[in-house]
Symmetry: C2
Subunit: 146 residues, 2 copies
Amino acid sequence: MQKIGQELIQHGIKPSLIRIKVYDYLKKDKDHPDAEKIFTALRKEIPTLSLTSVYNALKVLTKNKLIREIMIEEDEIRYDGFIEQHAHFKCIKCKKIFDVNLKYKNYLKFDELKKAKILDEHIYFIGICENCLNKEIVEHDRKNKR
Amino acid sequence: MQKIGQELIQHGIKPSLIRIKVYDYLKKDKDHPDAEKIFTALRKEIPTLSLTSVYNALKVLTKNKLIREIMIEEDEIRYDGFIEQHAHFKCIKCKKIFDVNLKYKNYLKFDELKKAKILDEHIYFIGICENCLNKEIVEHDRKNKR
DNA sequence: TTTTACAATTGTAATAATTACAAAATTAAA
DNA sequence: TTTAATTTTGTAATTATTACAATTGTAAAA
């Protein structure tokens, strides 16, 4: 908690309670939550909390590169408390986003990007996760049972 | 034009005028337009065209994998008439999306995805393109000129 | 050709996540 | 303590996309 405050300061962010709590929450919830989920969770501790404040905190944290926005399907922004290079997999059934470890090459060697300034990069997959696939099989068997 | 109709049929899409025109437009406009831009362009030929119809056509084409949706910044869907594997680079200044040729390995070997069903994958970069970088330099020089 | 059925198109209204903005509260500085 | 600056809150606005019902168009059957 104290340590998180330090981390914010090191990244040029004034460590207000909300910012600390939002960042702390993102470090603990590995499911890549959206603003609403963070809001609902933190409201239990901070009853006066507003959704706008959560968005504000997320914006500041993103701008200072402590967290990352994940845009996969267009109707929501999800947030990731870890900025180390990794990819994502989003299940279209359960909407969960999973981390995917990915040690890939430095793409900057590609001609088209040589003279551009790269600020961010993202790799993601969309599909159906193992768990939801199994559910589908069970469902299918149930319908065709004799 | 006839050929495009054939292509739709081959992908199980009934080749209506709007669907043909939308797909044809996407094949020609390499700037990865959004629905609005397509609508504005095609309206000149088809005065009765509605924006909803453009969205409908784009949905059908996407579902049948003739085109691809590109979600990079959360406030818009851009469309790509080419489904061959490639990445994108979006400039945050001019909002253009560029193609990036990318011959990368088959990621499916990664453990996390072994048992999942992958339907789609996407790689993109965000930054400032060469052209906009140059503009910034010019602007900077102009301010500091002696 | 007429009838019928079905699919495509249109127009309007709804949706909903995010942002804008101004007022209130809090914190830091003088 | 007073003042200034920043953070937080609440409400309203924004806006791309979707839902939906009505209309139009198309193609097959009689």
